[in-house]
């Protein structure tokens, strides 16, 4: 997942965000995205990260980061205290993704969420033809050690937002180096050919 595709995803996220805004990166890892946003968009960034080594890495880079668990510690951020809250590829790892999502929408005026798409054709065929839980570059873990508790597809998240009255502003599908806009009319096909879905909501 690292390297090229991660970079592509971050590039898409950076393109979605206007300059000079305040952004909270939930699950900010080693701060790569925060660094990118700072450099390219002059964004005022904050990170939340669970892993101690990643926290240290961010601090070394001079990026403000709070060590903590997004599942339990989002309450510390006041309502609408950020223009954007970014959650990159972690929604599926929470015990209660809906609760986390609600919190993100509370904290940010808008929210950017990326998900590994379980509807991607390679994932579907692995399950269909081999009868095994898919292991791909985007989903590298096996069933017993995956942190992903709530896998979903682009279509699932799309429908979820519809049902819960969450405003979808933009959805971008990413496959290798290519990106494409997703809407209701091309949802079925994009759900099949996108490795990652990036949602701008709120």
């Amino acid at each position: 997942m690292q390297n090229l595709e991660m970079k592509k995803e971050f590039k898409v996220i950076a393109d979605l965000l206007p300059k000079n805004t305040r952004v909270l990166d939930v699950g900010c890892g080693d701060g790569s995205l925060m660094n990118l946003l700072k450099k390219e968009k002059n964004v005022e960034v904050r990170g939340l990260e669970l892993n101690q080594e990643n926290v240290q890495e961010c601090i070394h880079k001079g990026l403000p980061v709070i060590q903590g668990n997004a599942e339990t510690e989002l309450h510390q951020f006041p309502d609408k205290s950020f223009d954007y809250v970014v959650l990159s590829q972690t929604l599926q790892a929470f015990y209660e993704p809906e609760k986390v999502l609600r919190n993100l929408l509370r904290i940010g005026k808008s929210v950017v969420i990326s998900i590994p798409n379980f509807g991607f054709w390679k994932v579907r065929t692995k399950l269909l033809f081999f009868g095994k839980m898919p292991v791909t570059k985007t989903l590298p873990n096996t069933w017993y050690n995956t942190p992903n508790l709530h896998m979903c597809t682009i279509k699932d998240l799309f429908n979820f937002c519809d049902e819960k009255n969450i405003n979808i502003k933009k959805v971008v599908g990413v496959n290798e180096n290519k990106t494409s806009m997703i809407n209701k009319s091309n949802l079925e096909i994009k759900n099949l050919f996108s490795k990652v879905g990036i949602f701008l909501i709120g």
Binding site: I59, H60, G62, V65, I66, Q67, P78, S81
Partner: protein, 389 residues
Amino acid sequence: MPSLAGLFFWMNIKLENIKKLDITRPLKLDCGKTIKNFPLAYETYGKLNDNKDNAILVFHALTGDQFVTGNNPITNKEGWWVTAVGPGKAIDTNKYFVICANVIGGCMGSLGPRNINPDTKRPYGLDFPVITIKDMVRAQESLLDHLGIKKLLCATGGSMGGMQLLQFCATFPDKAFSAIPIACSSSHSAQNIALNELARQAIMADPAWDNGQYVLKGIQPKNGLAVARMVGHISYLSEKGMQEKFGRKLQEKADYEFSFNADFQVESYLRHQGYAFVERFDANSVLYITRAMDYFDLSKQFRGGLVEAFKNQKTKFLIISFSSDWLYTTKDNKDIVIALNASGADVSYSEIITDKGHDSFLLNEPQFLKTLKGFIDSMYAKFRNEKRI
């Protein structure tokens, strides 16, 4: 061991030769009284550069002093934060100019209850005014003027040092580019106050304390003071850390002695710490400084609460807590982070996982020291960059 009277005489002579700033400007204390023409003892390490942008102010804890690193000329022992401060250390004195002042109320050369009261020409004892953390901090601000430092690169401190730092940032929002409060709290909890009261009661229960008049006789209430220190030492370690360090190990003996001598290593350790402390610290200073800690409640000062205290902060914060610290818990520290967040301040936070308890900030904790260094170095780059622009 020489007699205590002799020891203090000797200490007083040595105290004549340390760096002191005479603060002539009157300082109105929170209690209403005013002090003026008083000494503030301090020490510096490293060199202030030409741009004066490499200064780091360290606030010391309850029983600390201005001798952060190297050799303490009064006790002839290593400085209290030699693990973190020095050439090539996390706070690198080859690169940074480190300043530390003895708090007022203390006993390492700054105005304290052992000093002579100009009104009576006798040591203050309990006539010394009750001071607060804010008083300590305001006294130290004069030192920055004296050294010609407009803005510190960083200010830091653990425990009571962290409390002074929070106060410093709230009172002087423009004085520090960055701040690292470590293992502290924005207000003393009931348990914190209770432990301090235990220490004070131990001192006051010693007949030698004599209502604080012991100074006149050149003695110390050493039994009471030693017990006070033992209380402290228990609170600085974690249950697990203590068990691992001492367990039920006996002190240089094969079996119980069936007496009240120090059979267990942990007893021997406490006794040693207690009585070593008596040689370097003043009992009345313990009373005054613990009182200042108990009165500390930053949200009370700012009626809107803690968020109000940090309003319009430009300082960049890094808060550090230790997982096994039960004196100033992770929650205490996180409450500060939450308030800083709510006020929109630039704040980072890290919890260091360790069994070493509150004392961790004084020990060689690699993760802690790495975090400290990473933050300070990155702040130095930013500070210089900002100044250039």
